[in-house]
Symmetry: C2
Subunit: 428 residues, 2 copies
C-alpha cells in the first residue's frame, strides 16, 4: 500500500470508512487487555522458584566470611551478594558495591533524597538551593522522572539518538550550568526504546566536566543481562572504570537489581560507586537502617552462584519474551510497514517497544485503544511532567500478557494507529 | 555491707585497695566480652528456621486475595501480613496498617524524612522551617535520636517516670510550642528501661492538644510481644484507638516489626495510622518504590498464622532470654544491693536492663569495663547528642552473649561500679 501521505482526501475517507467498521467490530468484542505494564509474566516467575528452596530449614545461614545472615549487621551487604551484583551490573570490583533491599527504584530515590536533605560529599543540600536541574534523556523511564519531580527538581529533555542521549547537548548543559546536578540514564536496552549507549557515548559521559561539584550520572543499568537474542547482544562499557580512567571517579552512581531476574519486588538491589562516594553513603544509610535483608542476599548469591548461572537463567527468560516481542513487531511491520505513519525499532533486549506515531497522534491512539478495551501506557508517560512535546511516543510493554492476547491487542493497536493518522491527515 | 556513703575515708580506701587488686586480676584474664548489642543470640535465630521452609519450590505463591506475591504490586502489603502486624502492634484494624520492608528503623526514618522533604498532610516541609523540635523521653533509643539529629532537629529531654514520660512536661511543650513536631516513644518494655506506659499515660498522649498541626507521636511498639514471663506481662492501650476516641485520629504513627520475632534484619516492618495519614503516605511511597518484598510478607504470614502462634514462638524466646536477664540481675542484687551506689529495675520484657549509677560515674564505669575486656554501650548513648546530663545511665544488653560470658561480664561490671563509686566518693 502507498504511504498515507500520498493518499488523496477521497482515498483517506474511503480508507477511514473501512477502518471505522473494523474498529466498531473490535469494540463489540469487549476486549480487556493490558500492554502497559513492564512486569514479568507468570512463566518467568515460575522459573525462579528454585530460589525458594535454596535456603531450607536445616541450612547453614552463614555467608562465606562466617557472618550469620539471620542477625543484624553487615550494613553494606555480604560479599557474595556484592560479587553477584557487580557481575550483573558490569562493575569490575565487588568492593565498589553496596547491596540494598528489594528494589533499585528506592535505592535511586534514596540517592536523590540524600542529596536533597544532606548534600553530596559536603556540598550544599539541594533543599537549600533555589534551583536544581536534572537532564532527562527522552523518551525515558517515568518513575525516574517522578522522583525528580517529587523533589521539585526542574527537568530538561535531552533527545535520544540511536547511540544514546544527544551528547552535545549533555556536555553543554553539564559544563555550563552549575544547577544541573544529575542525569537519568538507562544505558543498556533503554526504557522504553531499547537503545544501548555506544562506547563513544559512555566515554563522553566519563569525560564530562561538570560545572557542579555534586553533579552525578544516575546510571540505571536495569536491563544489563536482559537480552532477547543469544547471538546478537549489546554490551556497554563499564562507566565506573571509564570515569576513573577519565579522572572523575566520583561522578557516577550505578544502579541495578535482580527484580526482573529473580522475583519482581522480591529481588535484591545494588549500587556501585567510588569508595569516596560509598563511604559517605554508608554513613548516611547507617542512620536509616541497621542492615538490609541478608537472608535474601544469601538466597540470591547461592542460587545465582556464577555469571554463567545468571546467563543461563536469563536465556530462559528470553525464550519466553522473544516470541512476544516478535509477535508485536511482526504485526507492526505487516500492518504499518510502508505507510509512513509510525516508526519503531526492533530492540535486542529490555522490556519495551517504542512506537513513534505521527506528531499529535499518540494521545488519540491511546484513547482509541482504551475505548476498545486495550490499556496502553499513557501517552506522555515517558517524558518529564508527562508531556510529550510532539505527542507521538507510545510505550508498548509485551512481557505480561499471554501471546494470543498480545496478538489481539496489537491488531487493535495498529487499527487505532491507522485511524488516528488518517484523522490527523484529514485535519491538516 | 553498709552503704558506701556511710563509709569513712579510711574504710573507702581499704575497700578500694581490695577492689583494685580484684580489678588487676580481672584485667589479667584477657576477657573479650560484649554486653552492648541488643541483638538476638543464635538459639533465638535457630527457632525461626521454620520460616525457611514455609515457601518451597512447589508452593503456591498467592496471597489470600489471589495476588501473585512474586510480581510487582500491592504497594501497602498483602492483607494477611497486615493482619499479622496489626496483631503484633496491638492495632485493632488491619486496614490501618501498611507493611514495609525489613526493618522498622527505616520506616521511622522515612516518616521523618517525608515530613522534612514533603511535609505532613499539606503542612510546610520541615526543611523550610527555621526550627523543628522533638521531645525525647530519656533514657531512650539511641537510633531514634540519631535520626532526628541527622535532620538537624533539636531534641529536648523528657525524663522517664515509672509510668512513662513525664506527661506534665510533654503536655506543656506540645501545647505551647508549635515547633515541637514529634515525640519518640517506646511504649512497652521501653528501650532501655523496660518501662511500660500506664493507661493514664497513653490516654494523656491521646488527649494532647498540639500547637503544631503536624505534630505526631512516633509510637515505636518494638517490644510488643517480647515478654520475659508468662504469668506477669505488661499490656498497653491501643494508642490509635485512644487517639480516635479523643478526636485526634491523625496524631500518631505506630511502628513495629518482626525483627526480634523472626529474623533480625530479615523480618517485616509495619506502620499503623489513620486512613488520612495512610493515604498521604502511600502517595509518597509510591514515588519511592513499586512494592515491598511480598514474598517475605507471605512467608511471615503463613508461618505466624495466628497470634497464638506468635505468642508460642515468643515464649520460646523468653525461655532463652529470661535466664540471661536473671543472671545479670542476680549479680547486681547480690553484689550491689544495699550499697547505695546504683539503681536498676527488673524489666518484665524487652531487651535491656538499665543501671543507674551515682551521678558522674557512668563514663568511668564503661571505661573501666572496656579496659578489662568488657564492652558496654557507650555511656550517654541513650540520650540525645550522646549526652547524659548526670553521667549516670548505663544500658546493659544481656541477649547476645552466652550465659557464662554474661556472668563473667557482670562480675566485672559490678566490680567497676564499686571502684568508680569509691573514686567518686573520695573526690567529693
Amino acid at each position: 500500500m502507498k504511504p498515507y501521505s500520498e493518499l488523496s482526501r477521497e482515498e483517506l475517507l474511503t480508507c477511514k470508512e473501512e477502518l471505522d467498521k473494523q474498529y466498531q467490530e473490535a469494540q463489540s468484542k469487549g476486549l480487556s487487555l493490558n500492554m502497559s505494564r513492564g512486569k514479568p509474566e507468570k512463566g518467568q516467575l515460575d522459573m525462579g522458584m528454585g530460589l525458594m528452596s535454596v535456603l531450607g530449614e536445616d541450612c547453614d545461614m552463614k555467608s562465606e566470611d562466617g557472618t550469620d545472615c539471620r542477625n543484624y549487621g553487615e550494613l553494606d551487604g555480604i560479599m557474595e551478594a556484592k560479587v553477584l551484583m557487580a557481575g550483573i551490573m558490569g562493575v569490575r570490583d565487588p568492593k565498589d558495591v553496596i547491596v540494598f533491599g528489594n528494589g533499585s527504584l528506592s535505592t535511586m530515590y534514596d540517592a536523590v533524597c540524600r542529596s536533597y536533605t544532606t548534600g553530596v560529599l559536603g556540598c550544599t543540600p539541594w533543599c537549600r538551593l533555589d534551583q536544581v536541574k536534572f537532564l532527562c534523556p527522552v523518551p525515558g523511564y517515568d518513575r525516574h522522572f517522578a522522583i525528580t519531580e517529587h523533589f521539585g527538581i526542574e527537568m530538561i529533555n535531552i533527545p535520544m539518538t540511536e547511540k544514546g542521549p544527544d551528547m552535545d547537548l549533555v556536555e553543554k548543559y553539564v559544563s555550563e550550568d552549575a544547577s544541573v546536578k544529575g542525569i537519568w540514564c538507562v544505558p543498556k536496552y533503554s526504557n522504553p526504546q531499547g537503545i544501548s549507549y555506544s562506547d563513544e557515548t559512555v566515554r563522553r559521559f566519563a569525560a564530562l566536566k561538570p560545572a557542579a561539584e555534586d553533579f552525578r550520572i544516575y546510571w540505571d543499568n536495569a536491563y544489563a543481562v536482559h537480552h532477547l537474542y543469544e547471538e546478537d547482544q549489546d554490551e556497554i562499557l563499564d562507566i565506573l572504570s571509564e570515569c576513573e580512567k577519565a579522572g572523575h571517579p566520583d561522578m557516577v552512581y550505578v544502579f541495578g537489581s535482580t527484580s526482573k531476574i529473580s522475583m519482581a519486588g522480591a529481588g535484591i538491589a545494588a549500587m556501585a560507586a567510588s569508595q569516596r562516594n560509598l563511604e559517605s553513603i554508608k554513613k548516611s544509610i547507617a542512620i536509616r537502617t541497621i542492615c538490609y535483608d541478608k537472608i535474601n542476599q544469601l538466597r540470591h548469591a547461592r542460587y545465582f552462584n556464577s555469571m554463567e548461572a545468571v546467563k543461563a537463567h536469563m536465556k530462559k527468560h528470553a525464550d519466553i519474551l522473544r516470541p512476544k516481542f516478535e509477535a508485536v513487531l511482526d504485526v507492526l511491520e505487516r500492518e504499518l510497514g510502508g505507510l509512513g505513519i509510525g516508526n519503531w525499532v526492533r530492540p535486542k533486549g529490555g522490556y519495551f517497544i517504542t512506537f513513534e506515531a505521527m506528531e499529535g497522534c499518540a494521545k488519540n491512539i491511546v484513547r482509541k485503544c482504551k475505548e476498545a478495551g486495550v490499556t496502553l501506557t499513557g501517552a506522555g508517560a515517558p517524558f518529564p511532567y508527562g508531556k510529550d512535546p510532539h505527542d507521538s511516543v507510545i510505550r508498548i510493554a509485551p512481557s505480561f500478557p499471554a501471546r494470543e492476547e498480545l496478538a489481539q491487542a496489537t491488531d487493535l493497536f495498529v487499527l487505532c494507529v491507522k485511524l488516528a493518522s488518517i484523522e490527523k491527515l484529514l485535519e491538516g
